[in-house]
Amino acid sequence: MSIPLTHILFVSTALFFIGTYGLFTRRNLITMLMSIELILNSVNINFVAFNKYLYPDKLNGVFFSLFIITVAAAEAAVAIAIIINLYRNHRSIDVEDVKEMKN
């Protein structure tokens, strides 16, 4: 195996922090959801890489990434339903425009 485990971990760490940057700078709900998808993908890469390099006789990392993918799909569907409901009430999906639950 020519690539050490740490290089895959560097890639997934970089992907995680790119997603975090998007979560910090964006104020649009859909783009924030896209950043969350990037973060979840970096976690999945980590699970599969640890499974492949450290415990090649087990399958638990693969199962964890499969369940994370499922939960992420459910989360994206619920988030988009909430976004569409919000847009119907406010005509905007910017997080700064929603003030109902403040003070």
Partner: protein, 204 residues
């Protein structure tokens, strides 16, 4: 450096470049398309790690499901060519600082940890039959309970999506009232009290 390493670095450069474009592009539709490319790159990384099943699930669920859902919601909520306002410079600067600090911190920890290699020398191959058998196994190390829990979660999420996104009808205006002039007999006398008298008069 052999071909496998070169392919790995190409895939990682593709993933990171398209991810950076996805979080910095000002047009939201282009941002979604860059996200799609980044997810395809992650699927390619799974293929490189020889977990073909996870790669297939990644393509089916993310590229075929989540990104299409995101693009649909963009079309429902935005004008397709519209640009988002740029974030203020202060916010960009500070989030860049925070992200760079976090990345260098994690880089130091990962580089200095020294993972001990696998104790077994068994090659890592993941046949789909092994995944299926362990997924539906009820004995030790079987994953049948999380499987059922996640299926209930998907059902709950589906019902919840329908309930949240359903257009709520305001009080007083029933849906059946619009259909009243077409067949003006039995269905209407519950809704509108005035027509009840008319119907009775017609019958007598």
């Amino acid at each position: 450096m052999d071909a496998s390493a070169i392919i790995f670095y190409l895939i990682s450069a593709f993933i990171l470049g398209t991810a950076i474009l996805a979080v910095t592009s000002q047009k939201i539709f282009r941002s979604a398309i860059w996200l799609l490319f980044s997810l395809v790159g992650v699927a390619a990384l799974y293929f490189w790690m020889q977990v073909e099943f996870v790669a297939a699930v990644q393509i089916i669920v993310y590229v075929g499901g989540v990104v299409v859902l995101i693009i649909f919601s963009i079309f429902l909520t935005h004008y397709s060519g519209s640009e988002m306002p740029k974030p203020p410079l202060k916010r960009i600067l500070f989030s860049l600082l925070a992200v760079l600090f976090g990345f260098s911190f994690s880089y130091r920890i990962i580089a200095g940890y020294g993972f001990n290699a696998a104790t077994t020398t068994k090659p890592f191959n993941v046949p789909v039959s092994a995944i299926g058998e362990q997924m539906l196994d009820t004995k030790k190390y079987g994953f049948v309970l999380p499987f059922e829990v996640v299926s209930m979660l998907l059902l709950a999420a589906m019902v919840g999506c329908i309930v949240i996104a359903m257009r709520s009808v305001p009080k007083g205006t029933s849906v059946q009232k619009q259909a009243a002039p077409i067949g003006a007999n039995d269905g209407t006398n519950k809704l509108i009290p005035e027509t009840k008298d008319l119907v009775i008069e017609d019958k007598s």
